[in-house]
Subunit: 265 residues, 2 copies
């Protein structure tokens, strides 16, 4: 390896880069992880109206709403199809301005026939209770056809996404289990994480490493040593295809790191 | 008391009514308890735009925003002052459609001189970190002058509130401590709650009682007995004026209930 004397070295990683989710993938992932958002609609005199809605995304990532004309936003959509839906990740702690979030803007349409059935299925998959009132007279299905997307990943991390890129992107399949695996790694696998940090992330001076995130492309670490902390990123060998791949992929990283370690440096 | 044989009686309370917060008070309380909301603004072509903002309410309950023209909603406000802010209580568990929430609609104005200082103070009181960027060139202070309010207390509990009623109402001063006192009562004061339920709420058949809420006007209980549950409400002797009044007021209720109990029935 580098031959540096690691004992007095800060853990600055050699490579904090590595493949990450695109803004379009972040947006598709967030839309699929959450079922609650705020909808901006246009009132009778062109004034904006903001209200809470629940939704389920269809296969293209377009949110499907089921709203009553008893609600102001329901009446607004009948009159003017323009709408914008803001969604944030409520599970992210800390400063709300630092929390991942998106705004989807477009126009709503009312699906008919088979499209209506598919839309209802998409809505109910995310909002199971909706099956109860789906047939009520005052409730209508609306598909928000997303025209543009604004993604904010946190402070000074943001991007705009076109309709095409948004539709083409996939939600990250590992997200439903990511938080659980992160907690497990930090609880039971501190040595494996340290080996990964030192051998695979280049944080040679690290004396401890905490996993701060997992996605289909890799894992994020916070490495500490010599009184300093640094972020590090290690990619998986290939993008994970499903949630069940996360644990074997992290085990593989730890094994690879330990093999290098015992090979000696 | 009633002379009923209480042992086989369901705990149906004699009086579930009693004074409660008005919709205007609910709205003022929620605005004061939360510092994050979603803002609907008007885009260049009249299209609605929804985005996350932080705010602090001024003395009249008008939310003060501090937003950058780098943000789409910041540019929208410069062009069109109409805006609508949706706020929900994220601490309420369960179905999001059943969660207390409000929408405030009105127009933003830019305060100047002393009004600007007061507005900045109101914002910073709720968003302490904002002092850091308050002076930056691209950030501007806006006061959303509330014209109308829509309050939803939960499923099928809703009302509209005029500007006058909204401005005249007070936030509930007990809200900052209410959840903590509820937890304490349920943890350490089960007998006191049962006495309150049986003697003051008229739930003679109750064998247990759980506190489900506290506000400046009284406490809510869920009473169980004979395999059934019922909601009950007990008012304080007068509306509480401050957070520190909550614990003495609940102690007083329990003492009064025990006095009736030992007086015998």
């Amino acid at each position: 390896m580098s031959g540096h004397d690691s004992s007095s070295e800060a853990p600055a990683a050699e490579d904090e880069g590595g493949r990450r989710r695109t803004a379009a993938e972040e947006a598709r992932t967030l839309v699929s992880s959450v079922a609650v958002g705020y909808l901006a609609t246009v009132g009778e005199e062109g004034d904006p109206w903001c209200s809470l809605v629940v939704y389920g995304p269809n296969a293209a990532g377009d949110p499907v709403l089921l709203v009553s004309t008893m609600a102001e936003h329901g009446r607004n959509l009948v009159r003017d199809p323009r709408a914008s839906l803001a969604i944030n990740d409520p599970s992210a702690p800390g400063d709300p301005l630092d929390r991942p979030r998106i705004t989807l803007a477009g126009r709503v349409t009312q699906p008919a026939g088979e499209a209506a059935e598919a839309a209802l299925d998409a809505h109910v998959a995310a909002v199971p209770g909706a099956r109860l009132y789906a047939g009520w007279d005052d409730f209508g299905l609306w598909v928000l056809e997303v025209q543009r997307v604004r993604w904010v990943g946190g402070f000074a991390r943001m991007d705009s996404v076109s309709r095409e890129d948004y539709r083409a992107a996939e939600p990250d399949p590992t997200t439903p289990v990511a938080a659980k695996v992160v907690a497990l790694l930090n609880k039971d696998h501190a040595e494996g994480l340290l080996a990964i940090a030192r051998e695979l992330a280049g944080a040679r001076g690290a004396v401890s490493a905490v996993c701060t995130g997992i996605d289909r492309y890799g894992i994020d670490l916070s490495c500490t040593g010599a009184g300093q902390s640094a972020a590090a990123r290690v990619e998986f060998d290939w993008p994970l295809a499903k949630a069940a791949d996360v644990r074997p992929a992290t085990v593989e990283l730890a094994q690879r790191a330990r093999a290098i370690q015992s090979g000696g440096s």
